[in-house]
């Protein structure tokens, strides 16, 4: 530094680096020593890091680092740790009956949480993320159950599905296509009668003949009082909930050419403990019996 030819800035009294641009000179102020040492420390750290951890990109993969660390392996380890932590509860859910699980508040809460997460993966596609369903897909929050709302009944429905070909225990029923069997006026009259059970029909004159047609053709499944039958998965027609749509036209459409929902059987796919968790979760949504 003791270069006698070094230019010293007049204003600050600091020597310059000797670089000059159009008369502008650069003051030669040193970095603070602690700053410099910190900078060197980061360089040393970077070298150590590059050796210890994956860092340099090669043609097909990055260098692996001597520690053998990978973020994917870390996730896998965390997942297996989480699984191990849940193992006790999962085992009890596998071995216990649903009613026993529900009698234990802690285990029930675990099942509800697990069921909620399984629901988002497997069920939300049809029933919606809030389990509120939609036209043709039942709302699982309410208190109307086509096939029963007790936890065991819900379990049965989830495990074996509805109209699921290839499962011997699946829930099956089929509503005939009355478009081929009844005259259009009879169908209209029946729809007016069904609508009159919970509201005002479009034509009160049709209610009486419709009631007769209902008794002859529909009551065998939907019941004489139209309150449905869970044996056949026949919906209650005398309440406020309409799976296939509300109003006389929707009733006429369903009578003429009925639509039948299909739900897969889940037992083989996701296993008994998860089906139990789902049943307990669905039961907890507010409509469970």
């Amino acid at each position: 530094m003791a270069d006698e030819h070094k230019h010293v800035d007049e204003v600050s009294g600091v020597e310059t680096t000797g670089h000059e641009w159009d008369g502008i000179r650069e003051l030669n102020n040193p970095m603070p020593r602690w700053w410099l040492y910190s900078f060197y420390a980061t360089i040393i750290w970077a070298i150590g890091y590059a050796i210890a951890y994956p860092s340099w990109p090669m043609l097909t993969e990055a260098t692996r680092g001597v520690l053998g660390y990978s973020s994917r392996a870390e996730v896998t380890a965390e997942l297996s740790d989480a699984k191990a932590a849940q193992a006790g509860n999962v085992e009890r859910i596998a071995s216990d009956k649903i009613e026993d699980i529900m009698a234990d508040p802690e285990l029930r809460q675990f099942a509800i949480s697990a069921g909620a997460s399984a629901f988002k993966v497997n069920c939300a596609q049809c029933h919606g993320s809030g389990a509120a369903g939609g036209k043709g897909f039942p709302n699982l929050n309410d208190d109307e159950w086509l096939w029963g709302g007790k936890p065991e009944e819900i379990y049965q429905t989830i495990a074996h599905g509805i109209r699921h070909a290839g499962d011997g225990e699946t829930r099956v029923s089929e509503m005939p296509a009355f478009g081929d069997m009844l005259a259009p006026e009879e169908i209209r009259a029946t729809a007016a009668y069904v609508a009159s059970l919970t509201g005002t029909p479009s034509s009160p004159a049709l209610v009486e003949p419709g009631k007769q047609v209902f008794a002859d053709n529909c009551a065998s499944c939907h019941g004489a009082d139209a309150k449905g039958s869970r044996e056949f998965g026949a919906p209650n027609l005398a309440d406020a909930i309409w799976l296939k749509g509300e109003g006389e036209q929707a009733i006429i459409d369903q009578m003429r050419l009925p639509k039948h929902g299909v739900m897969p059987a889940w037992l083989q796919r996701i296993g008994d403990p998860v089906v139990k968790e789902l049943a307990i979760f669905v039961h907890s949504l507010g409509g469970g019996e």
């Binding site: 020597e15 040193p30 602690w34 919606g128 309410d142 909930i241 409509g287």
Partner: protein, 522 residues
Amino acid sequence: MLHQPAHKAGSVERLEAEPVNAARQRRPLYEKRRKIFPKRAEGRFRRFKWLVMLVTLSIYYLTPWIRWDRGAHAPDQAVLIDLGARRFYFFFIEIWPQEFFFVAGLLVMAGFGLFLVTSAVGRAWCGYACPQTVWVDLFLVIERFIEGDRNARMRLDAGPWTLDKIRKRVAKHSIWLVIGVVTGGAWIFYFADAPTLLKSFVALQAAPAAYMTVATLTATTYVFGGLMREQVCTYMCPWPRIQAAMLDENSLVVTYKDWRGETRSRHAKKAAAAGEAVGDCVDCNACVAVCPMGIDIRDGQQLECITCALCIDACDGVMDKLGRERGLISYATLSDYAANMALATNGGATAIDTRRVRGANGAFVDGIRHFDWRIIFRPRVLVYFGIWVLVGLGLLYALVSRDRLELNVLHDRNPQYVVESDGSVRNGYMIKLLNMIPEQRRITLTLEGMPSAQMRIAGQGDGRSFLVAIDPDKVTSLKVFVTIPKAKLPEAEQGFSFKAEDPSSHERDVYRANFNQPAAAK
């Protein structure tokens, strides 16, 4: 230079001490740091600093070991920051995460307290209470104990590496490291039950975070307190820069009174006999030798000065020996200093002449201004104090009036409502009951408003009021369904409230809730 024997100035020993930052000899910026070997000072400020050191270090090291019984459901450590459980305990106060504003408020108070102290008495924080100052002081005690005082240390430092030097250095750095470990160790005890953590820490079974924290704090304590010392204050700390805005001409700062000290002379008697104007300063350098920042206070106000006042002690000692008044270096305001300087220099027309400030009998003339304590109570200081007090009172009010029972309600959004088979409409709510005391409680949860509505809690049936057991010091979650019959749906427009009340203490919290219904039903 360092090895020259000390001269004598009258009965006062003259010390060879060069300030590190003297303006009169500018040093190259690339020059290495000049080591500072502060001499031991004695006097009232030194005694006060020992006391502050004792109190602050005792608070820091011992606080985690104070016990405070809170019953079976909460830890019995008086001061505990339980990060895992998100709780902060301070004696009788327990803070939940949402009450963190208390800590923010304390930090605001600390900030304004710092402004207040700085505007009144300058950088008192830097000089007395800053951890950097306190730990450097502690490290210097060790250094002096092993290597001796200033001269011995300078000789040792400049001398060759003998066995004795190695022994002393190893001993010094080992003790420093031990202090570092203890310092870092005390820190972690604030975050877990101290006795339990100590056992597991010694048995090498504590969490890795504990060891890493101790290692980091050991390193910072050792490096900052032992190796870097004054460089932390001069180069790293932003506070010396900020303080300029806090100080004004009426703030008390450590001041060398040129107007009485100059012209300084090592041969005062001879000069006085020759009829020259001689000041009180005998240029003994005692003030420079004791300075932990290595500066010369006689150069005036400097960024490096932490106002530790050790130069005052040193100078007072010298003045006592010489039989002159104390206070050649003392706490003074810059306005007093400027007025006295004007007097001594005849308004800047001449050099300092002490004959203008001293009468024939040797006493100061009447025109000399002395510190008037009333200047402390000037608007700037009072405003800081007022804000500080207001924040404190606000916090105190918040603390006294805060609830220990809280009700949080999350209205279900998916689905927003459910139509039941009988046409009634149901809404779901997740209710969280915060029991913020470490005792089991039974509270009533009541639905108020919407007279036809019914509330349902899983396993408890329907009703409009339930008795709910809530766990000590925990959040209890409840899924609650509220249903309105079809015929009464217009009631939903009114909305309603959930009320949680402790029947024994009548502590309560009310949450105003909405009720959603299908658009067609409106």
